[in-house]
């Protein structure tokens, strides 16, 4: 059974910010399909072992306190920007002013 339709694939690529050339779509879809088909057995394995094992603990995020601390490398990090203006990263205009 196919896991992904062409429309879903195009939507997925757009959401991932990855542009796939029209000619490459069938080949990339096929390779995705191969992995998804291979892994589609996993829910059955869960069912097979459920009586023996507890479910894994829920994923939790671990954050340190959000505290401002002195940072000496601002210039070094800004220097890595593809485009900068003073202390800002430059991106193309998002909203045009009227």
């Amino acid at each position: 059974m196919a896991h992904i339709t062409r429309d879903e694939f195009i939507k997925l690529a757009r959401a991932s910010y990855i542009k796939i050339d029209e000619d490459d779509i069938p080949r990339v879809m096929q390779s995705l399909e191969a992995v998804l088909s291979y892994a589609s057995i996993l829910p059955d394995i869960v069912t097979q072992y459920t009586h023996e094992h507890e479910v894994p603990p829920a994923i939790v995020n671990c954050f340190r306190p959000d505290t401002a601390v002195p940072f000496a490398q601002r210039e070094q990090l800004l220097a890595l920007a593809p485009q900068r203006e003073e202390n800002y990263f430059v991106v193309p205009v998002i909203i045009k002013q009227g």
Partner: protein
């Protein structure tokens, strides 16, 4: 003084101590090896200026004083270029040191250059590098394995005595087996990941490539330990000398469980299986109790690995957007273009494929079937492995189903390439340590290795056992003719 060509770190330390060679002469020797042979091998993406290498060390004493190594190009060395073998990071300069670099530097180590790798550590042959091809030193028509192919090939070719790689699904052990050297994947959390560019954070771990078990244990002694900069390192891990039990004898009464469903899995080359069985006979001669055991859930480790690694990769690689660092497309005229074109031009096809799979398995409607199921099976796998370790001290399994394969062998079958991780991914998913050790050659004169896996923090026992095997077999004394 014996030849330096394939000298171990252990021997080099003696040469330096006896002043039979100076640190400068040693550096000159390895730069000379790279100059002579790396055009053919292609292991290094960059060799650093020799003077700057010497000037940057923090200590003239320590476990690795004056001994140079090669660093996989996904581990940050401050003020050095770091690309992860990807175009999207072309020109990126690391603003800080990874913790392992600080630790090695404190032990006097030199970092001679950056090792080639599969792009963002995604691959099993080093063929996905955006920059260059790395060949297997035993046969230039064959891949070195991956993703740490540059690190491993350099060590196997005697260009350098040690290297760092990284593992997510077997990326140190698999190339180590295919190139005939020792490759380790420590317990998850034993070695800090701070400064390692993330692929799948919950299973990534830095590993060590060397030509001998002793050397591997020595380098791990230098890099292991709790790190306040990495919340996933294990707590209260103090310095351990992993060489201290390397006596040449195994632990009395050692029980080794051979994972039957791995050794006898479909697709394991009969020649490889025969070499692994010879290794088991050696362990019996050394006094180990060797028994076969089944861990059926291990058969699904590749499936679990495919889902969890791609899901985490999709999340981790979302940061590469062409805004703050890395390459930006020259054709981008809108913010959306900046993201889409920069990522499409910057990431290679394998990385793009893994991001797409990752976002698919995390998406509404599919996460339960794929991502959540994979996590549950991972949890089951850990429970099953830990249960098995109540019966056995160590587990034995193949690393790779076959010898090193020719370039392009899986160009039209990405799933077969992905399945090169079939036997190695379990240790990553379960979080346990595993070490790949050479155990002979196929009729094509290509190396084969086995892996020993142990429970959490059993590195000492694995090294002790592997060292005893190495001393009676001497496979490590074989080297490729370059």
């Amino acid at each position: 003084m014996a030849s330096l060509e394939f000298a171990s770190i252990r021997d080099i330390r003696v040469f330096l101590e006896r002043k039979e060679i100076s640190v400068d002469e040693l550096l000159d020797f390895y730069y000379g090896r790279f100059a002579k042979f790396d055009k053919k091998i292609g292991s290094a993406l960059e060799l650093f200026d020799k003077k700057s290498v010497k000037d940057r060390t923090r200590s003239e004493t320590g476990l690795l004083a004056g001994i140079p190594g090669l660093i996989k190009d996904n581990i940050c060395i401050q003020d050095r270029t770091l690309t992860c073998a990807s175009k999207i990071l072309a020109g990126y300069v690391a603003p800080y040191n990874a913790t392992v670099i600080d630790k090695l530097s404190a032990q006097g180590a030199f970092f001679i250059g950056r090792a080639n790798m599969d792009e963002f550590a995604m691959g099993s042959s080093t063929e996905t590098s955006a920059y260059q091809k790395t060949v297997n030193p035993w046969n230039a028509q064959r891949v070195p394995g991956g993703s740490s192919g540059g690190s491993i090939a350099a060590v196997a070719a005697g260009l350098i005595p040690w290297a760092l790689g990284s593992e997510t699904g077997g990326s140190v052990r698999q190339p180590a087996a295919l190139c005939g050297i020792v490759g380790s994947k420590p317990t998850y959390g034993l070695v800090s990941r701070y400064g390692l560019v993330a692929y799948a954070s919950s299973i990534d771990q830095i590993g060590v490539a060397t030509r001998t078990v002793y050397d591997n244990a020595l380098v791990l002694s230098a890099i292991a330990g709790t790190d306040v900069k990495d919340a996933t390192t294990l707590k209260n891990i103090s310095a351990v000398d992993y060489t201290r039990n390397l006596t040449g004898k195994i632990k009395p009464g050692l029980k080794i469980g051979v994972i039957d469903n791995a050794l006898h899995a479909d697709g394991v080359d009969p020649e490889v299986a025969a070499l692994l069985k010879n290794a088991l006979k050696e362990f019996e001669r050394l006094g180990a109790i060797v028994e076969y055991v089944k861990i059926p859930v291990m058969d699904y480790s590749a499936a679990v690995y495919f889902i969890l690694s791609r899901a985490e990769a999709a999340s981790n690689l979302a940061r590469f957007d062409g805004v703050r660092y890395g390459a930006r497309s020259a054709d981008a005229h809108t913010l959306s273009d900046v993201y889409e074109l920069s990522r499409s031009e910057g990431f290679g096809p394998e990385v793009q494929r893994r991001i797409l799979i990752g976002n698919y398995v995390l998406s509404v409607g599919h996460a339960d079937k794929f991502y959540n199921s994979a996590r549950q099976v991972q949890h089951i796998m850990r429970a099953e492995f830990l249960k098995t370790f109540k019966e056995y001290d160590l587990l034995f399994a193949p690393v790779s189903p076959a010898e090193a394969f020719p370039f392009g062998a899986f160009a039209n079958n990405s799933l077969q390439m992905d399945l090169q991780d079939y036997f190695t991914a379990a240790a990553n998913l379960v979080g346990i340590p595993a070490v790949s050790i050479p155990c002979g050659f196929t009729s094509n004169k290509l190396p084969v290795g086995f892996q020993l896996m142990g429970p959490d923090l059993s590195e000492e026992l694995i090294f002790q056992t592997g060292y005893a095997y190495e001393q009676v077999t001497q496979w490590h004394a074989n080297h490729p003719e370059l």
